[in-house]
């Protein structure tokens, strides 16, 4: 009985509404009704280009860092990465954020993960297993911004660094939790207070810079990291980046890694002094924390770089030796 009455009412109300629908008159052929324009989303060609640029950046980075061993080349590549992945693509899609998408895809089979996001997540990790943290050194726009603003690198005390070094893993666990399941805190109204959130995207320090707009907290965090990055090298990379935690795990067992000296070690320690990230231990690049910035090469006396007929690093080495009284 009731369903029938409701059905009749529904038909009646739609009929009433239909009588309110105003139709334009027949303009008699003088006017054609336009169709609203619908701008196309990003073409698949452009999305393919993103993946090609990522692969090219990683390949070129590996070549410049491991083969050519040139800091200048890495700087140029970083600037290109900031221009393309940073300002042009506005920092999105990035491998750091892709952690969340992959987590969600593994947890929830309904989630539509894009093929491009998969490439962005897995390709730098595979590269790290093969050639170390080339992504950090040459391709990541976040790292490049911090690397380029570095003015006077200060050393962080060992005790502090020992604690901070664990933060990326903690943050990784937190973002995986929030992306996959969220925190099931329910407010009075029955609606979940903190459900699934993409924390990395919400708290990314540099995305406000790349979008040139953002909420106050994002711009403030960005400014904070840039100022901190002027004195303590790559604070986000070393002490927060969850993707860096994954890359560091892969880089430990990398097939090829940064070898500072081209032939023999002098145990002079000039490389360790030049490294702003405390990534050189026992006169070798620490495979977990070396971000492949290529600064150490120029400080090695064995790395011959001729300027006015004399190797620069050799001059530095002789000067340091003269200071200690040893000729």
């Amino acid at each position: 009985m009731w369903p029938l009455i409701l059905l009749v009412l529904a038909f009646a109300s739609s009929a009433l509404l239909a009588q309110y629908q105003r139709k334009p008159p027949d303009f008699g052929g003088t006017y054609t009704f336009p169709t609203p324009t619908h701008p196309e989303p990003r073409a698949s060609v452009e999305r393919a280009l993103d993946m090609v640029m990522l692969g090219a950046g990683l390949g070129l980075g590996a070549y410049l860092i491991l083969k050519r061993r040139t800091r200048a080349g890495v700087v140029l590549l970083s600037i290109a990465a900031i221009a393309y992945f940073g300002f042009y693509r506005k920092g999105c899609t990035c491998p750091i954020g892709a952690i969340q998408n992959v987590t969600l895809a593994l947890v929830d089979p309904r989630y539509l993960i894009s093929f491009g996001v998969l490439v962005f997540f897995f390709l730098p990790l595979v590269a790290a297993l093969l050639v170390g943290r080339v992504f950090c050194g040459a391709v990541c726009p976040h790292g490049a911004v911090q690397d380029l603003v570095l003015l006077r690198p200060k050393k962080v005390p060992e005790r502090v660094d020992r604690v901070l070094r664990w933060l990326p893993y903690v943050y990784l666990a937190v973002v995986v939790l929030f992306a996959g399941w969220g925190l099931p805190i329910v407010a009075e109204g029955g609606k979940a207070l903190v459900g699934r959130r993409f924390l990395i995207c919400e708290w990314d320090p540099f995305i406000g810079l790349f979008r040139i707009t953002g909420s106050f907290h994002m711009l403030a965090i960005g400014a904070g990291f840039i100022v901190a990055g002027m004195f303590y090298g790559r604070p986000y990379c070393r002490w927060l980046c969850p993707y860096g935690a994954l890359l560091s795990l892969c880089s430990r067992v990398a097939w090829k890694n940064v070898s500072i000296t081209p032939d023999k070690e002098l145990s002079c320690g000039l490389c360790a002094e030049s490294c702003p990230y405390d990534a050189i231990h026992d006169f070798q690049a620490d495979r977990a924390s070396c971000v492949a910035c290529a600064r150490c090469y120029d400080s090695c006396p064995r790395h011959v770089k001729l300027r006015r007929g004399q190797p620069v690093a050799l001059k530095l080495y002789r000067r340091s030796q003269a200071g200690t009284g040893v000729s």
Binding site: P24, P34, H38, E40, C92, L118, G182, R252, V253
Partner: protein, 197 residues
């Protein structure tokens, strides 16, 4: 360098192989479910034009714009989305105030123009996207029975940056923003939107 493998080298090599296999396996598993790219879209049936599209988009000028579906529009002279019917009438008795705070809803005369009574005409209403902030006031005013419901809010893909997590999707009170597959954009294309709380 000795010819035999050191223990360190063996461990490294094993871990590398395990790592590559694990990454490759996970990538393959997910690639089988990978879609073409998905974009965000407003479901006009669920949308309540609550003004959050204007403020929740990460861009300072929101990527959400009002769009007029001309085939549904009444081309009325007393458009409830164009003129604020509660405002002071002018000397001809037509409400003088505009609904759109940015004056982004424009109109032009179509058909025969009445020279004696300029308001007794039919008008084509279009949205000036450079001015539209996506506040939805016109959309709300156009809803039946006051209007035909031809105006709706739409995410414009030449402006939408395509964030990983749409800022508006998170705040929308009527879960009107869904992720849909491209190509073939339509609100019913996706097998279930993003399962946000």
């Amino acid at each position: 360098m000795s010819e035999t493998t050191t223990r360190r080298q063996f461990i490294d090599r094993t871990c590398r192989v395990i790592g590559l296999t694990a990454l490759g396996g996970a990538a393959g598993l997910l690639a089988r479910r990978a879609s073409a790219h998905a974009v965000f879209q407003v479901d006009p049936v669920k949308c309540t034009a609550c003004d959050l599209c204007r403020t929740s988009c990460v861009l300072s000028l929101s990527a959400v714009k009002a769009v007029n579906e001309f085939s549904k529009c009444g081309y009325c002279r007393l458009c409830p989305a164009y003129m604020d019917v509660t405002s002071q009438p002018d000397e001809k008795g037509i409400p003088s105030g505009k609904v759109c705070p940015q004056d982004a809803l424009k109109r032009r005369v179509v058909g025969r123009e009445d020279p004696d009574d300029p308001n007794n005409n039919y008008y084509e209403y279009t949205v000036d996207e450079a001015r539209c902030t996506g506040c939805g006031k016109c959309v709300k005013a156009c809803k039946p029975p006051a209007g035909n419901g031809s105006l709706r809010l739409e995410i414009r893909y030449d402006r939408c940056v395509g964030c990983n997590e749409c800022g508006i999707l998170v705040t929308c009170p009527s879960t009107a923003i869904v992720r849909v597959l491209t190509p073939g954009l339509s609100p019913t294309a996706a097998p279930g939107g993003e399962p946000h709380a």
